[in-house]
């Protein structure tokens, strides 16, 4: 167990690699109840969210969800989050545990008349069930990604969200905090493998989902991070002008994915020759090589470019690859 954003979290149950493989080949469950839930309600809630979030929230219907960014005036990232539209004027934002306070305060300070922002994190439990066999094991049918509905899983009434952080099909089950232990136990009883933070990190890194605090921060902008696709630059939101400028001029550096060409494992903070830096690195259980994400000058960001990474004093060769690093379809 390790301390994480005020919670005691398991890094692993059986082991990072078997848990990772369970999610890629069958099904794994993550207790991510530490994540934050912010309710944003009121007649002006949608207009308010449109003005503070990078993506176009007007495109989200009741029962829909959207990946988006809470951005600063200079285009930095306060947090990346998923916004769920519950009904007209009722939104739920699921934010990173480490940014719960920052995101809440950011919104609260800007809350206009006709909007109420409320931190409801302690009222919710959250269990992610992910993997090709996940839906069948817990008795759910398929549904489009980024939708949600209220339903029952193993006798527990829960919000069933078609979202995740692994690159696999699956759901995130958001339920009242008092129901999360029975829900977790029921999911495991159906043969889903419990997974810890370690596998959560290797899974998200194989599919190049950024981790706030590592790959994206208030000092990095969305365009350089490759998140231009969640920035609706034709809408008005905080930081839009700064992001437009980065886009028009072309970013000076870019977040790239890379694979090691020799036996070495990149880690966060390692220098990349030419002025770059590794922001996330690990050993890929699926590919059995070192993989990572890092910022490099734009000239080094083209797929196929060779990189030299300083792995504890030794220059190790890597190659920039297309995202995602691991793709089921390839």
């Amino acid at each position: 167990m390790v301390p994480f954003a005020g919670w005691e979290m398991p890094v692993q149950y059986e082991g990072v690699i078997p848990e990772h493989m369970a999610v890629r080949t069958r099904a794994g469950a993550f207790d991510v109840s530490h994540m934050g839930q912010l309710h944003v309600d009121g007649p002006a809630a949608q207009a308010f969210l449109q003005s503070v979030l990078s993506n176009d929230v007007d495109r989200v219907q009741d029962g829909g969800a959207q990946y988006t960014l809470l951005t600063t005036e200079s285009g930095g990232i306060v947090d990346d989050l998923i916004v769920y539209r519950l009904s007209h004027g009722c939104f739920l934002l699921v934010v990173n545990a480490g940014n719960r306070q920052a995101a809440y305060e950011w919104l609260k300070e800007r809350e206009p008349r006709g909007v109420e922002v409320r931190d409801a994190s302690d009222e919710y439990g959250l269990v992610a069930v992910q993997g090709p066999a996940s839906l069948g094991l817990i008795g759910l049918g398929e549904a489009p990604a980024f939708t949600h509905a209220v339903g029952e899983v193993a006798g527990v009434e829960t919000m069933i969200c078609r979202t995740g952080y692994t690159g696999e099909t699956g759901v995130e089950l958001m339920c009242p905090a008092e129901d999360v232990v029975p829900l977790w136990n029921a999911v495991l009883e159906r043969g889903v493998v419990p997974c810890g933070l370690g596998a959560r990190d290797t899974l998200r890194l194989e599919v190049c989902y950024p981790l706030h605090g590592n790959d994206i921060t208030q000092e990095t902008d969305a365009i350089s991070a490759g998140l231009g696709w969640v920035c609706a630059l034709d809408t008005e939101f905080t930081g839009r002008d700064a992001l437009r400028e980065v886009k028009e001029n072309g970013p000076e550096r870019r977040l790239v994915a890379f694979v090691m060409d020799e036996k070495a494992i990149p880690r966060q903070g390692m220098a990349i020759a030419g002025g770059g830096e590794v922001t996330s690195g690990t050993h890929s259980p699926m590919l059995d090589v070192g993989i990572g994400l890092g910022y490099v000058p734009a000239a080094q960001a083209t797929v196929g470019t060779g990189l030299e990474i300083d792995v504890r004093g030794k220059d190790r060769h890597a190659t920039v690859v297309k995202k995602p690093i691991y793709d089921k379809e390839r």
């Binding site: 890094v11 692993q12 082991g15 990072v16 690699i17 370690g198 290797t202 036996k263 070495a264 494992i265 880690r267 690990t282 050993h283 259980p285 059995d288 070192g290 504890r312």
Partner: protein
Amino acid sequence: MAASESYPDDLRYHPEHDWARVDGDEAVLGITWFAQDALGELVHFEAPEVGATLSKDASYAEVESVKAVSDVVSPLSGEVLEVNQKVVDEPETVNEDPYGEGWLVRIRIADPSEADALLDVEAYKAHAAEQ
């Protein structure tokens, strides 16, 4: 398949969780069950070169799991005669058999008296239990 906890009584142990199997003027070195269990499944062994000089208590290699990297400390001074290529190719061998197939290097011992300063199995077990 990870091995179950064991500490053979024919080995000498270093408090940094390394072992030596002394045979005349040579020794085979590895990491203990405790060390591999703390790291989890190994995915990389950064081996020394054959011919490299090892100093007692200094790092001579690295072992790395998904979670963490750890220096491997030499229990004895000497010269590397052989590196276990099986562990270079399949680092998880250390988890499966830390005292057998999962040995790391074979060395020529520089100073046989150094082995006397290492822990015997009972002293090492007591040390590991305190960690």
